[in-house]
Symmetry: C2
Subunit: 407 residues, 2 copies
């Protein structure tokens, strides 16, 4: 393939993600998810976008605020987008937290608390949402919520589930991958409201935790849980690998490596991504497994072999960023494979947006467009990241071509 063809390819993909985001994904959520009566968003939408359940899951409420505020900040100062973010934030400010400022897991349509703040990721996504919103509004109230929530997360960090933690203390102390991983992303999201020294320190410790503790060179992948002392735990939890989760973390690491101009970190993150692709890809039916046991034992998760939308988006973003920063052709090959699989299987040509849940064989498991875990987040964020990364790839190639002509 010559460079000219390559350039054409970039443009085609770039257009597909940009137009998909602006003409398909965002209009779907604008049309179907806004609760005009009580504020906030419906996330349980069937194939056509019709609401089938009105419960409001705080993860998804926050993530939709973030998405619309991010679009306003990064793509276009579209007042409609900001209004959508603001009406979600207003609902959340009114109903989202208990009296200690911990974010509930879910609320009724009207905003009454349904499920307690047992899950610290509600708080992580709230801090992200209000940090992004503050960028758009400059409203000190939004900055305050983001900052208070962030410090509350740090306070709860060593015992994130609090009294809801069912593990007996001392017997098999484990640390989970999700929180340190999300903190490395969150701290970049809200760095404009944090002390720079704290940002640098959180980044350094996050990179160390992800790349030196949860990444295990003996397996070539990132584990979901390790011992409190950093050891491998030969247990269901300790053997668990979630390839999509690892791939998402790796593009966070690539963003940090780019920021820090740390080539070694960049190459390590790209190599781990490729190793996760090899480990996670289903050679028989295509797509990436949801969970695998590092020793090949049966995992506890009965959904282990399913193919989930977000996994494939995170993988595509990781492969595109890997290609942008290292030019590794394996990254581009994986991206094209992932792109083909995803647009064949997840994109709904008839009613827009993406399906979320497929069987191992790639058949539709659930026809929903949104539910308890799928909302207005991974698809728009993934499309935005793919669009912008492809834009940079294209610009680099254009520059390289120009240099070629000049020399």
């Amino acid at each position: 393939m010559n460079m000219e063809q390559n350039k054409k390819n970039f443009e085609g993909y770039l257009n597909q993600y940009r137009d998909g985001l602006l003409e398909n994904i965002i209009p779907f959520w604008l049309e179907h998810s806004i609760d005009g009566r009580y504020g906030g968003y419906f996330s349980c939408l069937d194939r056509k976008g019709q609401v089938f359940d009105t419960d409001k899951f705080v993860w998804l409420q926050c993530r939709q605020v973030w998405t619309f505020a991010m679009l306003y900040n990064q793509v276009e100062k579209n007042q409609k987008w900001l209004d959508v973010a603001l009406q979600g934030a207003e609902f959340l400010s009114k109903h989202g937290t208990d009296e200690d400022g911990n974010w509930y897991f879910s609320l009724t349509r009207e905003g009454r608390p349904l499920v307690q703040p047992y899950n610290i990721f509600s708080d992580c996504f709230a801090a992200m949402a209000y940090g992004q919103l503050y960028n758009a509004t400059g409203d000190a109230g939004h900055a305050r919520i983001a900052r208070d929530t962030f410090f509350n997360i740090l306070k709860r960090q060593s015992n994130p589930k609090g009294k809801y933690d069912k593990a007996c203390p001392g017997t098999r102390p484990l640390q989970g991958f999700a929180l340190p991983m999300i903190l490395t992303n969150l701290v970049l999201e809200i760095e404009h409201i944090l002390d720079p020294a704290m940002v640098d320190q959180t980044i350094a410790s996050g990179i160390d935790t992800v790349m030196n503790r949860f990444y295990r060179p003996e397996f070539g992948v990132v584990l979901e849980n390790i011992g409190a002392d950093g050891s491998f735990s030969d247990s269901f939890e300790g053997r668990l690998v979630n390839p999509g989760h690892g791939l998402e973390a790796m593009w966070f690491m690539m963003d940090l490596a780019a920021r820090l101009r740390d080539k070694e970190l960049m190459h390590k993150a790209v190599n781990i991504s490729l190793s996760l692709m090899d480990f996670g890809w289903d050679e028989e039916y295509g797509g990436i497994f949801y969970f695998r046991d590092i020793k090949g034992h049966p995992p506890l998760q009965l959904e282990w072999d399913q193919k989930l939308w977000w996994v494939h988006l995170e993988a595509m973003v990781a492969m595109l960023k890997g290609y942008l920063h290292t030019g590794n052709p394996k990254c581009w090959q994986w991206f094209e494979r992932l792109h083909a699989y995803s647009f064949d299987h997840y994109a709904d040509q008839e009613h827009g947006e993406w399906f979320g849940y497929l069987t191992r064989q790639g058949k539709l498991l659930l026809a929903l467009k949104g539910g308890k875990w799928k909302g207005c987040f991974h698809v728009p964020r993934g499309f935005y990241q793919a669009w912008k990364t492809l834009e940079q790839i294209e610009q680099n190639h254009a520059k390289a071509q120009l240099r070629g002509l000049e020399s």
Copy 2:
């Protein structure tokens, strides 16, 4: 089909369950599950029976004690079986409870507590195990553990998850089907150590709860969760149906109806069973779905369309008991269909015992013979129940034939 052929069929099925239990299922667990070093049982066994994880889940430890004690009590005074039950009970007595007598959810191989007593079903299965064991040993210590545990369950009944309950009080109070359903069975299991008035009262209230509250005539099925006030809750939890769970409850109800000589209850339980079969059966690929939403919405459970071994065993027992007590030919037809599906899909001709987890299409999802939830319980209990029920069916037919000859 004439009566002679019918009789032959009964015998063939009867032999298959009796011989399967005694020559295949029980030997598998005897050979592979005994932890000779620390006591108790391994339940995480791969296809060949090899141990792939050594954690000890209290549900399954208790259920295996129950199974071997039950076999000793009901089938044959085989000292080896009693010894197996006793060595499990010894491990559990030493390590199974916290200082308040609540049963942990899981333990390490050595017996150190891993997961707190957040789950009251550990206690239910412990009471069952020690009640059955007391029948075999007459040991007052076994009776005491069963009785203390039972009264502790009653005490915790209104708030079974205790501090681990994540629901915000008051917003959407729900009651779950599992505990009242299990209590109706448990009280029969340990009635020899309880006050008869209490047994009668628990039975009466259990029947009322299952048949008048969780069974909803407007849907024709049993729901997994209803409002605290008995109302239908139009939420993910409230819309949830677990057909296998309902079918298991219905054969408990048939046992109670037989004991009470309550024909109306018997016919109601049989009719609900048939309605659950119609609702749960997958016309496209065969087998019974794990979960369904009563309104046809997407359920939260990603494993909703999978075909689980225990569901099919409980369904077969329900259909056989329905046929025994009412002679309804639909029950026999369903039994034969379930039997064919199950022996085609779950029975492992090569290494014995049953597989547990299939995809919707009937392909193997996990090749394990035991894990966190599958142990030495549903297969042997189902085989025993099928064998004994077929024995009664055969005897009734023999009597009927004799009456036919005499008349």
